[in-house]
Amino acid sequence: MATREAIAPLRLRASRRRWGEDVVKVVLALCAFVSVATTVGIVVALFEPAIEFFRDVSIVDFLTGADWAPLFEPASFGVLPLVAGTLLVTACACLVCVPFGLGAAIYLSEYAQRRTRRILKPMLEILAGIPTVVYGYFALTFVTPRLQEIGLPVGVFSALSAGLVMGVMLLPTVASISEDSMAAVPRELRDGAYALGSTRFQVSTLIVVPAAISGIIASFVLAISRAVGETMIVLIAAGGQPNWTWNPLEAVQTMTAFIASVGQGDVATGTTAYKTIFAVGATLFVMTLVMNLVAIRLVRRFREVYE
């Protein structure tokens, strides 16, 4: 009897079904489901009223119209001035965050001593932690007057002022993701170039940046996506009138600023003006979604190549 038990194969599985374990797994999956529900909620919340909106207003007129005056009589629903305003501010932001964010990343990854980096990096991250309403205040009360002092003909509100400040806010985003991807470049590549007599400058620009390019581009794309979706800085410092211009010294209204200024008031539910929030919001969501997916894919690529 005893010997037969010893010969019988060991059963390593649980001796009975543990219902508690199953319940736990279901509860955890439900937590994860909240994120899925959020995305579904966003899509439904945006597109259902947006589709209703496009029953009243032709989608072609919306996407190609050059005049945005939804609250006036006769109303006009051409979204292009808002898109142009958004792109203009975004371009100003990129002027700052792309070169200097990359510069900061190269410095931190290739030039700084380990100790210097450990101090500088968190300090730079502080910039990303400051609330955007504070940046808006800073653009309005500090940057705009300085721009006027150096002789630029800017008014109280301008795309340039909002864009420049936004660029500084996004600098750590670009720097941090770019630096991550540079850190993933294997040391041997650098050592090989040094062995051939390269300077640090050549190693940085000819070896590290090209090798880390997918992560660097991802950081740019993500920064652009953030700039397009940023609200408070433009609401405070860029102006409140739709204005189709490519002159950064003028005041413009962005898509986000429009949503915020209409959505904060008491617009009656069901009116076409109320639905514009969702039509513009859907446009904004699609634009940022495409950029986010591109960035996620690029980041995954540099992780796969070197790690």
Binding site: V34, S35, L46, F100, Y107, S204
Partner: protein, 291 residues
Amino acid sequence: MSVSAGRLRSDGPRGRWSGRAFYGFLLFSLVIGFSTLGALVLQVVLKGYKWVDLVLLFEPPSAEPLIAGAEPAILATIYLGVLLLLFTVPLGVGTAIYLEEYADRDRWYNRLLEVNIQNLAAVPSIVYGILGLAFLVRGIGLGRVLLAGAMILTLLVLPTVIIAAREAIRAVPDSIRQAAYALGATKWQVVWRQVLPAATPGIATGSILALSRGLGETAPLLLVGALTYVSFNPTILGEFTALPVQIYQWVARPQEEFRVLAASGIIVLLAILLTLNAFAIWLRNRYERRW
């Protein structure tokens, strides 16, 4: 990618100058960031320090700048913070445990879940505001109340908490799990008694950083109705305004006195966020374990 060896050779004085110019450019990149940070802090402190007083902290807002305070807004921001932690930590940690310990990476729906969370982390905050306006305020008829604001901020910072919690859970070495299994622990016993305690410092740090991000948000709160004039202290199911929204209201007024008031409000807001961040960093340095 290929670089010819000739281009990698150091090319004498000319190369040295371009190297120096490049180094100068790199330093300038950092200077841009730090000088802006310095100018911002100076501008705010110099303009607003005089009005950071008991009136600001303990009086309701007013059309008269001299007696206007931000007590309802400050209290609402504290309430929002407490609710935010209560909502996000269980949801975020639960999702992180599911993804790290339970989910099968090869299943398409789990991969989709990951991409979904990464994307949600980058969705513009105003879009969350629209979600709140459509579903919470108008849809289920919750109205423009503090709870709606807290729920929308929860969804907004949830991806950040999930990502931080996943990193903390991933940092717990597998040998700990294996040892617990070898002693006969069930999966949940391993997670609850071994993995979570070991990951707690990382999770706490990530959650507090996310909290400070959420409390600084303005745009989504504008859409769920935090712009109303509130002269009484908030309740969870009552109308509310939060500190960043109060600051925005003051900035948006053209009179100089309100700009000063805005600067004072910013000092209080930055002080709250800085305290939270410092606490998070202290937690990390004090309890972080390297395996």
